[in-house]
């Protein structure tokens, strides 16, 4: 009757608080998961064939080019008013050719078709307009004989065109270039600043510098991008005299401004977490502050500092606004840091707004998103695993 182990009566407010915390937590996890699912699903249309769930108009971009004339000839009927319109802009092109290629819709048609006769004619030796139609037709076929993977790993990114080219190589090069520059600048600066604040700075300096740098992390990236666009670009051009005002160097400097606060604050936390007694022990052996910091504290905090750099890399390749504004945003397949670059994130950022919903281009952009996801996920996983195992090794003496 008098059970001493009966459950104590719970306060109702406590219960509500507990359950709402659980609900919010699970909701946020579900939302994150759904974002994953959504991005993967949108990208998967590229591989699972053109499922009909996408809008009819846009899937035809890929389809009509590739195969039967029946679809392409039937399509223009629907879009005739628009398909006819381009003739105003392009009198040289023949009406039938426009009918055959016009399926993609007016935007692509206008963008692509005028380019072909004018650019190609002189170089190939004055192809008559009526052959032009055939040759472009051939190009279309040729372009499509490239399998999707071949196209995907080619070195040209021209997502909008008669033969859309989705070569992600220049984007990867651009991302690698700018990220590398950003990390080469940002990581040493961030780590040195962290060392300074953790071990050398007087307390009042620390009180100013630490929040100052961390404030930079909350700086709107568009402001950093603008600053690079206007000021840093000029400085870099004045110093190096490169012909391109916006290039990978400027972009890398801009990204490093985003990277530094991340590297700094995580590295500083890691360095401050090293037991103070280690510092005393080292100093008592007659080492200088610098020797202590460099030979004892930094190695002891190495896993944390490593994590800081990895997260910095993650920030650098994921950063969009600075990359759009400061890199020149041109998808060039060159490793030169003095030429413009375009990152994966910037590509998504600048093209997603105008892409035809459900088209191949749309799918490719989502695929790039998946790529970013996987990359940053992998980076974080490495960080986590590496840091955990290294810390355990270091501090349990295994």
């Amino acid at each position: 009757m008098n059970n001493p182990f009966r459950t104590t009566r719970r306060n109702i407010g406590e219960l509500i608080a507990e359950w709402s915390i659980r609900a919010v937590a699970s909701l946020s996890i579900i939302v994150i998961f759904l974002i994953f699912v959504f991005v993967f699903r949108e990208a998967s249309t590229l591989f699972l064939g053109d499922s009909d769930e996408a809008t009819p108009q846009s899937t035809q971009v890929a389809q009509t080019d590739s195969t039967s004339q029946t679809t392409s000839s039937s399509e223009p009927d629907v879009y005739n008013p628009e398909a006819e319109e381009p003739e105003v802009y392009n009198p040289e092109a023949e009406a039938p050719s426009s009918g055959e290629e016009g399926a993609p819709g007016e935007f692509i048609y206008i963008a692509a078709n005028p380019a072909y006769p004018h650019i190609y004619n002189p170089s190939t030796g004055l192809i008559p307009p009526d052959i032009d139609a055939a040759s472009t037709e051939e190009d279309v076929v040729l372009g499509d004989t490239l399998s999707f993977t071949e196209n995907f790993f080619s070195s040209t990114w021209q997502p909008v065109g008669e033969v859309p080219k989705f070569g992600i190589v220049p984007l990867l090069i651009g991302t690698a270039k700018t990220t590398l520059i950003a990390i080469l600048i940002g990581a040493p600066l961030g780590i040195l600043a962290a060392l300074f604040v953790a071990f050398f700075a007087k307390p009042w300096i620390r009180e100013i510098v630490k929040p100052g740098i961390e404030l930079l992390a909350g700086f709107p990236s568009v402001v950093i991008g603008f600053f690079c666009l206007v000021s840093v670009a000029s400085w870099v051009q004045d110093i190096t005299g490169v012909p391109y005002r916006l290039n990978a160097i400027v972009g890398g400097i801009g990204l490093s401004l985003a990277v530094i606060p991340i590297v700094f604050s995580i590295a500083e936390d890691a360095l401050s977490a090293v037991p103070k007694t280690l510092r005393e022990a080292s100093l008592a052996l007659g080492s200088t502050e610098w020797q202590t910091a460099y030979r004892v504290m930094l190695p002891a905090a190495a896993p944390g500092v490593f994590a800081a750099v990895l997260l910095g890399i993650g920030r650098a390749f994921g950063e969009t606004m600075i990359a759009i504004m400061a890199t020149g945003n041109a998808p060039l397949s060159t490793f030169s840091p003095f030429e413009p670059a375009r990152t994966v994130a910037a590509t998504i950022g600048s093209e997603m707004g105008e892409v035809v919903w459900g088209s191949e281009h749309y799918g490719v952009l989502f695929l790039l998103g998946v790529l970013l996801f996987v990359f940053s996920f992998g980076l974080n996983a490495i960080t986590e695993l590496y840091v955990k195992t290294r810390f355990i090794k270091r501090f349990q003496g295994k």
Binding site: L278, L283, S287, T288, A300, F395, Q396, G397
Partner: protein, 255 residues
């Protein structure tokens, strides 16, 4: 105190402040060379503060201030000309908690050696072996010198810290409660070690354990509330102290 003994460390009217709070009051004493001197007293009496003032470890604490002189080998260590790094190379220190660096056993010992001068591998090997032998650790670890020092037992770690301190061949060895975290067997080993080292080094030992002070030290100082109550030969302190407070503490009436 016997006149024939060379004074190694001397404090003259030494006062110490943590901010506004005074921790040491007019300490005057002379610590003889190549002897073991123990400081006893209840917690917070200032004995550790005094010890850490000798090699200026208290400089690392913000807002501390001293007044008076701390003389080591005739030089006031708080002089402007004294380089604290050189000072600390001559005064080794062993802490209450063993603090091996997260490096290998070998690197732990060579750390202090390679700070300012480059030495050959053979020299380093020799010093590592001799300091480990002197700290009675060689036989236990000789096969795993390249393993992490953090995998050693607590007693081994503390002896490693002693080996690390004597590897740089200091003249003075400060020990801040070196056995307080050790089991009796490890404590016995460290005490043996102190016994052995006192021929070479001037050892200053802070301890909570009065038996230990009685066992290993030649001289004993009793601190209370930041003042040095009594300083004399250990035997005198433990058998016929001249101050009432000392007697009360030693006989366990307080503290």
């Amino acid at each position: 105190m016997a006149k024939d003994l060379q004074t190694k460390i001397a404090a003259h009217d030494f006062n110490f402040f943590y901010g506004q709070k005074q921790a040491l009051f007019d300490i005057n004493l002379s610590i003889p060379e190549r002897k073991v001197t123990a400081f006893i007293g209840p917690s917070g009496c200032g004995k550790s503060t005094f010890l850490r003032s000798i090699n200026r470890m208290n400089d690392l604490i913000e807002g501390t201030r001293i007044d008076g002189n701390m003389i080591v080998d005739g030089v006031n260590v708080y002089d402007k000309e004294v380089d604290v790094v050189t000072l600390r190379r001559r005064i080794g220190m062993v802490f209450q908690k063993s603090i091996p660096f997260p490096k290998s056993i070998y690197e732990n010992i060579t750390y202090g050696l390679t700070l300012n001068e480059s030495r050959t591998k053979a020299e380093l090997d020799e010093i590592v072996e001799s300091s480990l032998r002197r700290s009675a650790l060689w036989d236990e670890v000789k096969d795993r010198l390249n393993h992490s020092a953090l995998g050693m037992s607590g007693g081994q770690q503390q002896r490693l810290c002693i080996a690390r301190a004597i590897a740089i061949n200091p003249e003075i060895l400060l020990m801040d409660e070196p056995c307080s975290a050790l089991d009796p067997i490890s404590t016995a080993k460290v005490e043996e070690l102190i016994e052995e080292l006192k021929d070479t080094y001037t050892i200053v030992l802070v301890t909570h354990n009065m038996q230990q002070a009685g066992r290993v030290s030649d001289y004993t100082g009793f601190f209370l509330m930041g003042s040095l109550i009594e300083f004399d030969r250990t035997r005198t302190i433990f058998t016929s102290p001249s101050k009432k407070e000392t007697e009360d503490y030693i006989t366990g009436r307080f503290g």
